[in-house]
């Protein structure tokens, strides 16, 4: 169970779920920590490196007093402050703390943090950042507590702390030993050591870190139905609400039949919610809410509303013509984002220019758990339970909506039944808050799957046009890439039609090829729906276009795909972003250049691992083909080698190899599971995921017209190859970077298998 949920039936009991060890003023010096306390091979304090984590809102917190408490029975409570949506961060970060602390994982209890960034540091679970930003803090928290336990024991026994041994939940010296519980109170009153004074475990002494034998913390609850997601929390007197939202963003209801809805047994109220239009951040769309005693009554009540909608300024949005306009835009010179060398001359003097255009429809995240939230507004305070990726943001948004100070609003994070970026944008939480305030009762807002498909913050639709200038020998001497897509920025600020650095940094300006003359430009595309980030974001259309283009270029030049990739990447180098003409605003996933450079040797390495593993170049039966793609995103490097087999026109994937370099691999088992998941989501993107608009409204509704990869045709025999590194190779992203190379590797394999080139995703399951 999520431990804070004990409070649900008895809100006052909250503080009792953890036996708090009081924080005391720390007296004395930490000289006790000048010597080692750990038995296993001793290591120095690891050299701290700077990450983008300190620049995130509310930064990083590494205070063990915030994250750790120990009961007198020895139970170690560790706070998980990131949201769990399937990546495993709720397991992996506490696992790191436990290992460094020498706590026995079987005696660890995980507490889910409420949304409180001033206390816990940044909690925005997004951007593949949890390990990348918090791994050092997790080690420091664990190491601190181990030192404090040793210090308390040394004091008690009157022995030098350097002779005290801390191992597997026990502290000992000679024949004497004490459990963590015996020492809890005194240990937690010891001064917290500084990083430099912590005698960290050496990597070969890790029990859990880097091993992968630890099962996810919610495994038993998930398999017995006891795991608690957003819709699984109930409060006495709770009502369920369904909201009819305007089909077109910015639209309004012109009439509705509240009486008909109220006539449904169980319906208790109908309320119109305030409307919003972009840019409105994560504000709800507005609409008409039906509040009822149970979900079924709310559904029936909503159906009875018989609403007439007016469309508003975006009612003309139609994907077919919009896509044609975007493709036309890619042929014009857009805003130049990066220029290197002299591309105009290179193209003017080229022996041949090779050009292709690739497109992608919008996508909706459709996490398995549709958006849902419970709010209990009680006049001067409010408590919320919701599956949210960014609980502190949700808390601020909800507080503002109901006119409360955020200090009086608490957001409890349930498990997330998937997120993929949708649950960063907590419009559904604000809806629950507004409705609870209106009906003066706890209200759960439940979205149906249709609501989710119709009212998402969609992955952008895009057109990407790439041109290569070839010299007389067939060498690529110039590269132009126009990317045109409506921008995420349009939900936050008046729309310029242009992308901002976070988007252009995702595979557009940072194409790591060694080509002397380069221009990246960005065409104009105004947003007519809410554009939001979706797992891997702009990397999806960029990797799709670039990866497919490399495959096409290889064919054009009579090379194999691997040779083409290797030629374009060139000799291994650390990209000098200044010399290569990157914009001053270049966004490297928020990371400082130092330690997170673009290293093309890593691209080459993962490409070769995946290509070798699949036996690239071997003879294949008729109807089969292998495709390769490699892409850097979220500071990680992922190559995908896919074998496709076409059976009666259906594209199947009997084998796939995914090679990832994500720096230090703290939990290889969850990295593999993320890659396996990315292979499936990548195949869904390649074959199924297309959201289109007609007259401003989404045309798809549910799995019958917005389907996903299923058990009868998923990537089989997915093998994940993780490049091994020591801890000093900084951990980078895992949740997202597996996705982008999958679709182009499939398209390249389809071409090899059948000679058919697909340039639009979704490409369909049948070719």
């Amino acid at each position: 169970m999520l431990k804070y949920l004990d409070q649900i039936h008895s809100p006052v009991a909250r503080a009792l779920t953890v036996q708090k060890v009081s924080r005391r003023a720390f007296l004395g010096t930490s000289s006790a920590f000048a010597v080692a306390v750990f038995t296993a091979p001793r290591a120095e304090a690891f050299p701290v490196w700077e990450t983008g984590g300190s620049a995130m809102p509310n930064g990083l917190v590494d205070d063990p007093m915030v994250f750790v408490s120990i009961d007198t029975d020895g139970t170690v409570h560790l706070v998980a402050h990131r949201s769990e949506m399937g990546t495993g961060s709720r397991t992996t970060l506490p696992m790191i703390m436990a290992d460094e602390m020498e706590a026995d994982w079987d005696r660890v209890n995980i507490i889910q943090a409420e949304g409180d960034e001033p206390k816990y540091g940044n909690q925005n679970t997004d951007g593949s950042r949890s390990l990348r930003h918090h791994i050092q803090a997790a080690r420091k928290i664990g190491g601190s507590v181990r030192m404090m336990l040793a210090g308390a024991a040394a004091e008690e026994w009157g022995v030098p702390v350097g002779e005290v041994v801390v191992s597997n939940h026990t502290v000992s010296h000679g024949g004497k030993s004490l459990g963590f519980g015996d020492l809890a109170e005194n240990a937690m009153a010891m001064p917290v050591p500084a990083h430099k004074d912590i005698d960290y475990k050496s990597e070969d002494a890790f029990r859990y870190i880097g091993k992968g034998q630890v099962q996810i913390t919610d495994l038993r609850d998930i398999t017995t139905g006891a795991a608690v997601y957003g819709a699984d929390v109930t409060l006495p007197g709770m009502k369920i609400a369904m909201v009819a939202r305007p089909p077109v963003v910015g639209g309004k209801a012109t009439s509705f039949d509240a009486e008909a809805a109220m006539a449904i047994p169980g319906v208790v109220a109908v309320h119109e919610l305030p409307y919003s239009i972009m840019p409105a951040g994560f504000a709800p769309l507005g609409g008409v809410a039906v509040v009822a005693d149970n979900t079924y009554a709310a559904i029936q009540g909503r159906e009875a509303l018989n609403i007439t909608w007016e469309g508003g300024p975006h009612a003309g949005y139609t994907s077919k013509s919009y896509m044609a306009e975007m493709v036309a835009e890619t042929r014009k010179m857009g805003t130049v984002m990066r220029e290197q060398g002299d591309p105009d001359t290179a193209f003017a003097n080229a022996a041949k220019v090779f050009t292709q255009t690739y497109t992608q429809d919008h996508m909706a995240h459709i996490p398995m758990e549709p958006p849902v939230a419970l709010a209990n507004f009680t006049g001067d305070a409010m408590e919320i339970w919701a599956p949210v990726q960014s609980p502190y943001q949700a808390r601020q948004d909800a507080a503002k909506a109901v006119g409360l100070d955020e200090a009086n609003v608490r957001v409890n994070v349930t498990l997330l039944g998937g997120g993929f970026g949708r649950k960063s944008k907590a419009d559904y939480v604000t809806e629950a808050a507004l409705l609870s305030q209106l009906v003066k009762a706890p209200v759960r807002v439940q979205w149906t799957r249709e609501d989710d498909v119709h009212h998402s913050f969609y992955h952008t639709a895009s057109a990407e046009r790439i041109e290569a200038a070839l010299d007389g020998s067939g060498k690529v001497v110039g590269w132009r890439h126009n990317s045109t897509a409506p921008s995420i920025l349009s939900i936050f600020a008046p729309d310029s039609g242009h992308q901002f650095p976070i988007e252009t940094g995702m595979g557009h300006v940072d194409v790591p090829f060694d080509i002397p003359n380069v221009r990246m430009d960005n065409g104009k595309a105004m947003a007519h729906t809410r554009i939001g980030w979706f797992r891997a974001v702009s990397n999806v259309p960029r990797a799709w276009a670039i990866g497919s283009f490399v495959g096409e270029l290889a064919h054009e030049l009579g090379k194999d795909q691997r040779a083409m990739w290797l030629e374009l990447i060139g000799a291994p180098r650390t990209v000098d972003t200044v010399a290569e003409g990157y914009p001053e605003t270049y966004w490297n996933y928020g990371e400082p250049a130092n330690g997170f450079e673009i290293k093309t040797g890593k691209l080459i390495n993962v490409l070769n691992i995946a290509a070798d593993a699949i036996g690239y170049g071997k003879d294949l039966p008729e109807g089969e083909g292998i495709g390769l793609a490699v892409h850097r995103s979220f500071v990680s490097y992922v190559a995908v080698a896919t074998r496709v087999k076409i059976i009666d026109g259906k594209v199947t994937v009997p084998e796939m190899h995914m090679a990832i370099d994500c720096g230090y691999a703290a939990n290889p088992e969850r990295i593999s599971s993320q890659m396996e998941g990315a292979s499936v989501m990548g195949m869904t993107i390649a074959q199924h995921s297309g959201i289109t608009f007609a007259d401003g409204a989404v045309e798809q509704s549910n799995f019958y017209d917005y389907d996903v990869t299923r058990s009868t045709n998923y990537p089989n025999n997915v093998k994940v190859h993780i490049v091994p590194h020591g801890f000093d190779e900084h951990s980078t992203g895992v949740g997202e970077p597996g996705v982008p190379p999958v679709a182009p590797s499939i398209a390249n394999a389809v071409f090899e298998a059948q000679g058919k080139r697909l340039r639009h995703i979704p490409m369909g399951e049948m070719i």
Binding site: L219, T223, P367, E369, Q446, S711
Partner: protein, 150 residues
């Protein structure tokens, strides 16, 4: 008021007879292991057993299960140690976990009916259960493990 037999217990369920069993189980009986994922019979998140056979609880009404035995994930095994649940744990199958009670109920029903399914039979039987996180490789391996012990 309708009398339903859920997980071996007779319960008075105060629900309209036309209410989908899914909502009666969740909202009225208060058992939340059965999940809503689509409401149209296309995702399998709501899978329960009716007289031992997997069915989508969003597609069957309260009236239709009167006199039948409804089993939800909470009642699959009193100790949560059904061999399918064990196999799921052994292979660390879930990511977000939201689809998994439905997957487990579907797999348990398959194996009850066909203890040694072929790979093809496993894939067919599981096709209606979506996992958006993409755990299929482990799901299929876990069904095989529960079936054959390897």
């Amino acid at each position: 008021m309708t009398k339903l037999n859920i997980n071996g217990t007779e319960m008075d369920v105060e629900a309209d007879g036309s209410m989908p069993l899914l909502w009666a189980v969740r909202d009225i009986a208060g058992m939340t292991g059965t999940k809503y994922g689509c409401g149209v019979g296309l995702c399998g998140a709501c899978t329960v057993h009716i007289d031992g056979v997997a069915q989508r609880s969003c597609q069957i009404t309260v009236d239709e299960v009167v006199g039948k035995a409804v089993t939800t994930i909470e009642g699959l095994d009193a100790n949560g140690e059904h061999r399918v649940q064990q196999a799921w744990r052994e292979l660390n199958v879930p990511q977000c976990g939201f689809c998994q009670s439905g997957q487990i109920m579907q797999a348990a029903s398959l194996l009850a009916e066909n203890p040694k399914p072929t790979d093809g039979e496993i894939l067919e039987a599981m096709e209606g259960n979506v996992c958006r996180c993409g755990c299929y490789q482990r799901i299929v391996a876990a069904v095989r493990l529960a079936s054959t012990g390897a």
